[in-house]
Amino acid sequence: MAHAAGRPLPHRAMRYLTIGLFGTAIAALALTFASPASAEDIGLDEFDNKISGLVELADEPLGDVQLVVDGGGFRVEVVSGDDGRWAVGVPERGGYTVTLNEATLPEGIAVIDPELEQPNVRTITVGQSGSAVANFFIGQGPRNTTSLFDQIIDRLFNGLNFGLLLALAAIGLSLVFGTTGLSNFAHAELITFGGLITLLFGVTLGFPVWIAIPIAILFGAGFGWLNDAVLWKPLRRKGVGLIPLMIVSIGLSLAVRYTFQLFVGGDTQQLPGATDTTLSIGVFGLSWIDVASMGVSVVVLLGVAYFLLRTRIGKATRAVSDNPALAAASGIDVDRVIRIVWVVSGALAALSGILWAYFRPGVSWDMGFQILLLTFAAVTLGGLGTAFGALIGALVVGLFVEMSTLIIPSDLKYVGALVVLILVLLVRPQGILGRKERIG
């Protein structure tokens, strides 16, 4: 802190200094990525459930073979030991895929199984015993490689799907921020709520899923309205400042999240059809659920755009975002607009939660909290309080998170998006679509 005590550096120089600091950090990261993690046992102390296996070729153990265990939003990479053994702890029971990276096998060796299309990928279920074994048939044969082009297309669609569902949540958050100035940390619980209600109606009560989903969206809208009616409207009346409101939303988020856990427990549960492999289309790793998810997102986002641009109440919403006092003076019922914004925001968040439950896949008590920061990143990237900025920001974040896994380890994919958020704030603090006057 030498220059703080002495003469200040010019601002521009400080900015370059920061970019330099970031650059060095990122370069250091890139260097470290070159060396893979080497450990045959990962997370066994931390988690109760275990997936293990033995990699061998004609009874000879194979060491240093890389495997990826993936499922329920959890992903870990492991390398087999000199005795060919590997084991990973996994957080929950349920379905996992284990992928053996054939590039790490010795020359001329591959996973062979004529009955499977992708023999190096194995789907297993961790059941009541809390452990499962994944072994592969290894022998001489051609490798099952996915070309780089296919990988890119696969990630692109995944990113688009994720970005679109993130946009549904981000637009709601952004509308609330625009009209009330509240940075609502409890938005995560609106997202989770959608997933939980679908689970309640679709699984526990056994309704068909096409009825359960609209019910969940209605409940989400109601929950949004309840948030405003019980808490935020009285606080607005009381004239509580924006920063206290933000802290209240943090308290609300904590209380509601653990109330969810109190009711549904810590497990991840699947919505109907979420892990159904027969729904796969067969190209680019897409399933019909992904296609439906993207289709629903696009239709709903177009609907929101129409609402904001063409309807009276949508125009009123934008007017309140722009200048509440002026909007009130020109005869707009600001409280009514805010109430509608909360209802819309709750419904959009619930839908986003349902799609997120299919994307992860699984419903759990903290699923919304897992993407809350990315939602905030999307809103900030696009420009705080601009609805269309949130859409663009969400697509950027979604694509970046998924595409970056081509280069960086997948357990760091959220880091990439958050670093981008900070870097964008450095050069364009008002966000992509924001106006400069908003940041001062």
Partner: protein
């Protein structure tokens, strides 16, 4: 029946526990950021993680002595504060909130990833760094204390070290805010433009405040890991929220508020958790399982944060005129 003596004795132990000291120190750092300067730092968990990992990695990987390990943690916090502060302190308050919360998550994810497993221990974390600190212990082996507070020599050493740091930090904070520097900082909280009009460089005062509070956070992270292991999942965003709860409870713009707040917070939390767990065991609360009883504490903290902010924003010891909530 319910063993009241056990519950009360467990709660009384929290009064001097190292965890209470660590949270008090972290909250004091946050008081400098939020209470005195008006900076919305939501990344205090990141500062604590850097202190904890800085200390543990310096000891384990580089074999550094205790003073060098502490210095490593402090340096990490200073660099982190600069990276956070330089781009964002010029912007509106909520930008700093989003950037700090994101940066703290980046720190946690970098410590959790398998990529750096040899240095950070990945999700399992680190242990076995206590040797050099234990070697400095002047207390001869044995059990000391009275009533509920009977500990061995290492436990006492951790407590003495932790609370000495808290006392030093409180003294430094008290002196700082009686000085002209402190008055400028409070002026920034009240009206940035007025301070700027007096010719002060608001930006650099804010950076300095972020660094001092961040260093307190890093030291808190070190106290936090002395009685346990370093585990990355301890440094989630909810850690920051707990510290905010403590700060708001005691009073954001006070020196002793965060410390007393931490003691009250942990004693009440221990008492409440102990009571609920026993009550479930004897069947007073038939609709709850023991696991669910453990989750009630988080709900309680959440509700407490909301109630304090709405009904007593100045906290227990705060002065209503000195609110960080000017805008």
């Amino acid at each position: 029946m319910i063993d009241w003596v056990q519950i009360i004795s467990n709660a009384a132990q929290e009064i001097i526990s190292p965890t209470t000291a660590a949270y008090a120190l972290a909250a004091l750092g946050l008081a400098i950021h939020f209470g005195f300067t008006g900076l919305l730092n939501f990344g205090q968990a990141g500062f604590m993680a850097l202190g904890a990992y800085g200390y543990a990695i310096a000891t384990l990987t580089f074999g550094a002595p205790v003073w060098a390990a502490i210095l490593t943690g402090i340096l990490a916090a200073i660099v982190f504060a600069l990276i956070l502060g330089i781009p964002t302190l010029r912007l509106r308050a909520d930008y700093l909130a989003i950037v700090t919360i994101a940066a703290a998550e980046i720190v946690r994810l970098l410590f959790t990833t398998n990529t750096f497993v040899e240095v950070t221990g990945s999700a399992n974390g680190l242990q076995g760094y206590k040797g050099p600190f234990e070697a400095l212990n002047p207390i001869p082996p044995g059990q000391y204390g009275f009533g509920p507070w009977v500990y061995n020599e290492y436990d006492w050493w951790v407590r003495i070290f932790g609370w000495t740091l808290v006392a030093l930090a409180a003294f430094i904070t008290w002196r700082l805010f009686k000085s002209p520097w402190g008055r400028v900082i409070k002026g920034i909280r009240e009206d940035e433009d007025a301070v700027r009009a007096l010719g002060k460089n608001v930006y650099f005062y804010k950076v300095q405040s972020l660094i001092i509070g961040g260093v307190f956070g890093a030291l808190a992270g070190m106290i936090f890991i002395l009685p346990r292991a370093v585990v990355p999942s301890n440094y989630q965003t909810s850690l920051t929220f707990f510290i905010y709860a403590i700060l708001l409870l005691g009073g954001a713009a006070t020196v002793f508020g965060p410390i007393i707040g931490s003691v009250i917070f942990w004693v009440l939390l221990s008492f409440f958790s102990g009571f609920i767990a026993r009550a479930v065991e004897v069947g007073w609360l038939p609709f709850l399982t023991n696991i669910q009883a453990g989750q009630l504490r988080f709900i309680l903290v959440g509700v407490a944060i909301m109630l304090i902010v709405i009904f007593r924003p100045q906290g227990i010891f705060g002065n209503k005129k000195e609110l960080a909530f000017v805008k």
